[in-house]
Point group: C2
Chain length 420, copies 2
Amino acid sequence: MNLLAAAAGHGIAPLLATLVAVILATKALGEVAQRANQPAVLGELVAGVLLGGSVLGMLDPADPVIAAFSELGVIVLLFEIGLHTDLRALARVGSAATTVALVGVALPFAFGYLVASGLGIATVPALVCGAALTATSIGISARVLSDLGCLASREGQVVLGAAVLDDIVGLIILSVIAGVVGGTPVTVLGIARTTGVAVGFVVAAVVLGSVAAPPLFRVVERVRTSGMLGLVALAFAFTLAYLADLAGSAMIVGAFAAGLALHPTPQREYIERATTSIGHFFVPIFFASVGASVELRALAEPSALAVGGALVVVGVVGKMAAGFAPFWFRGNHLLIGVAMIPRGEVGLIFAQMGLARGAITPEQFGALMLMVLATTFVTPPLLGAIATPTPDAALTRDVPGEGGIDDLVSGTAADQSLVD
Amino acid sequence: MNLLAAAAGHGIAPLLATLVAVILATKALGEVAQRANQPAVLGELVAGVLLGGSVLGMLDPADPVIAAFSELGVIVLLFEIGLHTDLRALARVGSAATTVALVGVALPFAFGYLVASGLGIATVPALVCGAALTATSIGISARVLSDLGCLASREGQVVLGAAVLDDIVGLIILSVIAGVVGGTPVTVLGIARTTGVAVGFVVAAVVLGSVAAPPLFRVVERVRTSGMLGLVALAFAFTLAYLADLAGSAMIVGAFAAGLALHPTPQREYIERATTSIGHFFVPIFFASVGASVELRALAEPSALAVGGALVVVGVVGKMAAGFAPFWFRGNHLLIGVAMIPRGEVGLIFAQMGLARGAITPEQFGALMLMVLATTFVTPPLLGAIATPTPDAALTRDVPGEGGIDDLVSGTAADQSLVD
């Protein structure tokens, strides 16, 4: 026993063991995934499944410290993605992204509800099944596209825009379903308010951020304390994430808006490099936690397998159809549809909410888990098969090993170049 | 309310607000301290006092997540210090460091016990007072020396070695005092065992680490996953910290040993740069937490002021005398003695342990708090007044802005150079 730590009232030795296991397992399996020509994130998710309660029981995503690390990871990730996103390029594909998002919510919701009802599930749990199918994991989609080097392509921008809108729409659906499950009446006014707050926040954050950020960072650049620029940028991202939460939106929407606002600043490259090192530490904890949330036992029930299998099919078909919805868009529609498939942590949140409030049975939870798992794990290899990397230098320029999102998420032999 | 976060069972929004406050306050006051020709760490400690329960109540060092961040901060800091320490240079001043450590424990303990007894305090609380005076905050001492650019000087090496030994001795005293307070008999065998484990651990870690680290990092360097080298080095430090805890020693002793073991590897410079960025985030949380542990109210009692004042005097005199104890050492003895003065978080741990077990009264706790506060805050300006920076290129080479401990702890205009 460590008396010093015990006397101070906290022993973090078990946390250290967990962090070591997460670091080594995510990096080792990420490397294995890459050598098999798969994105590194696939290996990190598998590492999480292995470390989680289903297998080794070393990583508990509900532990408050791990949960905090994981959320900081997804906040840093979305900040980096925003930092890398040219708002004008995003706006150019705005109508296509909006169409993909709306169709990608409506179709899976309708399909999911109908299939679940058809299999004899009652109305409320069937609504939860439909809702869980609407989600898109922006973290996983963006990272897979980045791993494949096509986050900056026009298709990548459509997926990014649609996934952000999906997060906002998902938030609205979640609040509505939570109301239905809780028995509170759902009003049009309430839905309109949630929507307005979420959309308004991103617009306000980007507008105000674009005005305030350049003079702020000009001042910060002048001070002498080391590490200042990267830390202040991180504080800026945390602040917008906090305000987004306060406004009733999602923290990751705020972090993404912070990145968008800092994209045009001249300090962007340095900010990217500083926050990437911090992301190297936090981001794998997020992906491992997503993997650790998977309970393999819940998948073993035959009824869960039947419902889950049906949900996987409509979940894949619904999102792929959404990719073809913006018929006027010239580009790889299949790529867009497939990139929208993974439900990841957002789908898990719907399922957990439903189970916690007694709206769905453990078997139905198992079915949703199977759907989340299958859609998340099937996407990286599918995308790898159909994507052709199209580096678009006009949109972003990101050299692996130079810091930035490519360095954070992909798996190039980046580090050795820095040793020299 | 953030439904997504609430559904997932954790809302980290308050944590984000705390982190933003800590980042901005430590960096702003660190900058103020530097402009007043004081080490940046002084500003970070003051920032902690202001954010803590005594003033703003925004930073609770007992919060599990903050405590975890803070401990990771001191682990990363000690790892960086070890990484920067040439074991051969440390060994060359080994006899002087050992003498400083032992005299610096014996004199303050005796003085503290006698003064407390003389002021009418009973035996057990007087023993706690003496024990609290034995500590040296290696984190604060090393950082002040680094801020002043003389961590690599021979005096700096003596202080570093003595402070590490102090941590080991402090651990032994803490376990003995905890036994006395708890009423369990203290045996020579028990003390010998604790001592043997702590000393043996450092020796074993450095020997085994030096054998295992070079081939391990040669393999790691060959893999393609980005961020690998820095993260594996961090995992190595966490592992040794964990093992140190398991062996009954202090985690920071393990982290320091990990740094020592990696010092001779060719990848050291890159490891330093990668871990420094992570340290930029975690280390200020540690110093702010030390500041936030100070309860200003406990200092207001007249009896606390009287006992505390007396303890400050013997605390300063005892450690300064220790600086002059290795009479054969040619160098600035005053610098060594002054650098040993700050009790920092280690002194607070003694005081908290005593209060929690009912061994000391709240007034006596206030007196110890005053002693810790005064010795911690008086050292940076004192050292600044007597130190003459002597960069010793043979021992280390650390350019501010290039990563490494100087970049982590000092406050040079380092970052702008990286923007270009």
